[in-house]
Each structure stands twice: as structure tokens, then as C-alpha cells.
Amino acid sequence: MNLIRLRTLIYKETHRFLKVWLQTLMSPVIIAVMYFAVFGGALGSQIAEIKGIPYAVFIIPGLVLLQSTNNAFMNPSSSLIISKYSGTMSDLLLPPITPMEKVLGFLFGGVVRGFLIALLIFITAGIFTGKFFPEHWIGFFVILFLANGLFSILGTIAGIWAKTFDQSSSISTFIITPMGFLGAVFYSLEMLPPLAQKISMLNPFFYLVDGLRWSFLGISEVSPYLSFGVSLGLFCVFFAINYGLFKTGWRLKI
């Protein structure tokens, strides 16, 4: 592993989005605030508390993950698809960057973007609710890393696979966004009929949200061990797939 190469790739992947921060950072924060105002403010007054937590506070972890993971996904996927279109893929293929450096470079690019957005949304939500600090600090950072890391890896795989912008955005539209919304972001499993509860538990996003909710609020629907275990398992599986794709050069070489 050459640290200069890795650092440069991370620099490239982070500075690209920091140069257009209004679009990449502020836009998701504004969207989250809108959700927060509508669901937490307007609808929240109709729902008193969930597991002893005010509704407006209950939805914070889910809202954070909805926006941060979506952006962690988009960072590498748009970078790779733009490279394919503009011809700058050779910037990635001509230097002797190893598959592991490529995986980590894109992973950290997405994670940094996801973390910054998460941080901004937590602060903004804290201003409205007074809840700023997590209950379990280590778990909080671990699950935020696993969630944003997982989606960053998924974005990299999507960017490698996609041949067009349309293909790339279709994954986000038809898989990532519905998975997020149906991952118990706005509701507790207890509010669903039994069959819907079982279906929700098949959704990987549910475990990310529940893990973050446990670390931030101290409440959860399933054991935090299960949430962290599922998140770590998925992270490792897709990390290995991503490594394999970079190693073979699938859909990247001419």
C-alpha cells in the first residue's frame, strides 16, 4: 500500500465534492431540514412519543442516514461514471494504483462526504430539539462509518457497472431510495402489522437505522449486536466484491 497514492486518491475524491459544496453538502442538509419540519413538526404533533422519545427526536437518526448514505453512494458512482464519459478513467488506470488503494480511495471519499452531511444534519436537528450528543459515542461513530462506508462501496460498484448516467441513477432511484424510506426511518416496527414487520426486517437499511438510533438515542427495535453484526457483515461482503472488481478491471479496461 502506497500512502501517497491513497492520500491523493482520497484528496481527489473529496475535493471534487468540496469544490461544489452548496450542491453536495448544503442541498441534502436543506432536504433533511424540510423532512424534519414536515414530519417532525407537523405530523409529530399527532404522534406523542415512541418508546418514550418525542417523535421529532425519534426520526433524527433515520433522516441523517437517508441523506448521508445517499450522498456516500453518489460520490463514487458519479465520479466513476463521469470518468467513463469524459475519458478521465485513464487517470485511474495509467498510474500503478493497486485494487486495495482504489477501494479505499473511493470508500473514504464517500465516507467523508457522508460524515460531513451527517454532522451538519445532527447539528441542525439539535438546534430544533436540544438533542446534540449520542448516548453511545463509539457505537455512534462505528455505525456511521459502516453505513456510509457500505453505501460508498455500493456506489463504487454501481459506478463500475453502469455504462450510462441513466443506469447509475436507476440504482439510486429504484433500489437505494426505496430501501431507505422503507427502513423504519419515520416509524417504529411496532406501528406496522406483523407481515410488514417481517418484511422490514429483511431490509438491510433497517439495521443501519436501528443501530444508529440505539447509539444516538439509546433505544432500538432489535438487539444492537444484531444491527452492528448485519452492518459489518454487509460491509465486508461488498468490500470483497468491490476489491474483486477492481482487481479484474471489469468494465473499466477497454
Partner: protein, 237 residues
């Protein structure tokens, strides 16, 4: 030992045989012109050399190493100026060079990068984004990018397309300077007078086959005063 060696290199895309048993060698320090009409297989050959494309069969050696078996060694030795003008438009000229150098795993060297920009008449565009550069400037920035990691072998795929005469002369001077420093240069070009002026060795390819590899002086002497264009047209007609 030649610095570059191609031995019966073959590459097909479906039914199209882009490279058909290409065989030649390049000596260290020479300026080697790789000529051929469009579709001759020049770019495919360069892509096989730098690992962007995997060859079907045959052997390629870069300073004794196979690019498919030891890519980290061979990639460090090669600087490729691609035909397309491709840049990450988020970054300025100097940032593009810094990133390219960093991606090769080398520590920053501002003095070296500034020297390249100066030699390519781009000093005043150091902080400009690619979108603000003319076609000729972009072409020169492509050369600067390829040189950012100070490679031993520089491969230029149509480097003077869209570059005006004065700047082209400047570029020739710079290439000769690089050659004097010991760099090996491979040039593909459609400007045959450029190859005739610069090259030590001429290689003509057509339809994926090597038609000729010869020392330029010998080639011109053997053809009794015909210029390279006439020889090229005779061979590729």
C-alpha cells in the same frame, strides 16, 4: 536489451483483428515514430502497452518486464499522452499535475512541475481550469500530465493535433531536449513531415500489421530522395 519489445502481439475486438502479430523493438534514448492511417492499430498497441487493454497473445516487454505481469513497474516507466483531451475539470492545471504525480505514489515536487509548465509555455495558466484553456494549451497540458512522474519512456499519441506552428516548433525543441536527457520517445502522428524531422526510427503500421520498421536515414537513402509521405503512401495504398 531494447527498452521496449513487441513480439507477435495480437489483439482482436470481435471479428476485427486490431493487432496482427506486431513485432518490433525500441532502443533506449531513441525517438521512434509509429505511423499509420486511421484504424491501423496504433492506439490499441499503446493501450496494450500501458495495461488499458489486455492483449490476446504475444509478448510485450518494458525494460524487460511484462506489463500484464508486473504492471506497477512498467506503469512507472511509461508516460502516456492520450489522443483525447481529457481532464478532471474540477481542478486547475497545477492541481491536475500534482494529482497525477501523487497517483504515481511520488512525493510533491513543485519545482519539477513548474519546470514542465515553463517548458510547455503554460506557466501563466498554472492556476487555470482546463475549460479556460485553448485546444493547443490543453494538448500541452496533456503532455505535462504525462511527464508529471518523470517517466523514462514518453509515448505521445497525436500530440500536435490542434497546435499552431510556432508552438509546434517549441514542442519539437522540448521533445529533442527530453531525448537528450535520455528519455525514449514514441510518437504517433499524422503529420509525416513531423516524423521525418524528429524521428530516428520509422515504423509504419496498417490494418493491424507492421509494414516497415527502419532507421529513418536508411529509409530515405534507400528510397532515392523520396520523402516520408511518398514512402508512406506507397506502402499503405
Amino acid at each position: 536489451m531494447p527498452i521496449l519489445a513487441f513480439d507477435a502481439v495480437t489483439k482482436s475486438f470481435g471479428d476485427l483483428k486490431a493487432l496482427d502479430e506486431i513485432t518490433f523493438t525500441v532502443k533506449k534514448g531513441e525517438l521512434f515514430a509509429l505511423l499509420g492511417p486511421n484504424g491501423a492499430g496504433k492506439t490499441t498497441l499503446i493501450n496494450c502497452l500501458n495495461g488499458l487493454t489486455d492483449r490476446d497473445s504475444g509478448k510485450i516487454l518494458v525494460m524487460g518486464e511484462d506489463p500484464q505481469k508486473n504492471p506497477s513497474f512498467t506503469k512507472m516507466k511509461l508516460g502516456i499522452v492520450e489522443q483525447e483531451l481529457v481532464f478532471d475539470h474540477f481542478f486547475s492545471a497545477i492541481e491536475i499535475l500534482r494529482i497525477r504525480r501523487g497517483l504515481f505514489g511520488l512525493p510533491p515536487d513543485e519545482a519539477y512541475l513548474d519546470w514542465i509548465l515553463e517548458k510547455l509555455n503554460l506557466t501563466d495558466k498554472r492556476d487555470a481550469k482546463p475549460m479556460g484553456l485553448s485546444g493547443g494549451m490543453k494538448r500541452r497540458l496533456m503532455i505535462a500530465k504525462a511527464l508529471a512522474h518523470n517517466p523514462e519512456i514518453l509515448i505521445l499519441d497525436e500530440p500536435t493535433a490542434g497546435v499552431d506552428i510556432a508552438l509546434r516548433q517549441n514542442l519539437y525543441k522540448f521533445l529533442k531536449e527530453l531525448q537528450k536527457e535520455g528519455k525514449t520517445i514514441i510518437l504517433t502522428t499524422h503529420y509525416l513531415e513531423e516524423a521525418e524531422f524528429l524521428a530516428d526510427t520509422i515504423c509504419i503500421q496498417a490494418s493491424g500489421k507492421t509494414l516497415l520498421v527502419e532507421d529513418k536515414k536508411n529509409l530515405l537513402e534507400r528510397n532515392n530522395g523520396k520523402n516520408l509521405e511518398a514512402i508512406f503512401l506507397e506502402l499503405t495504398a
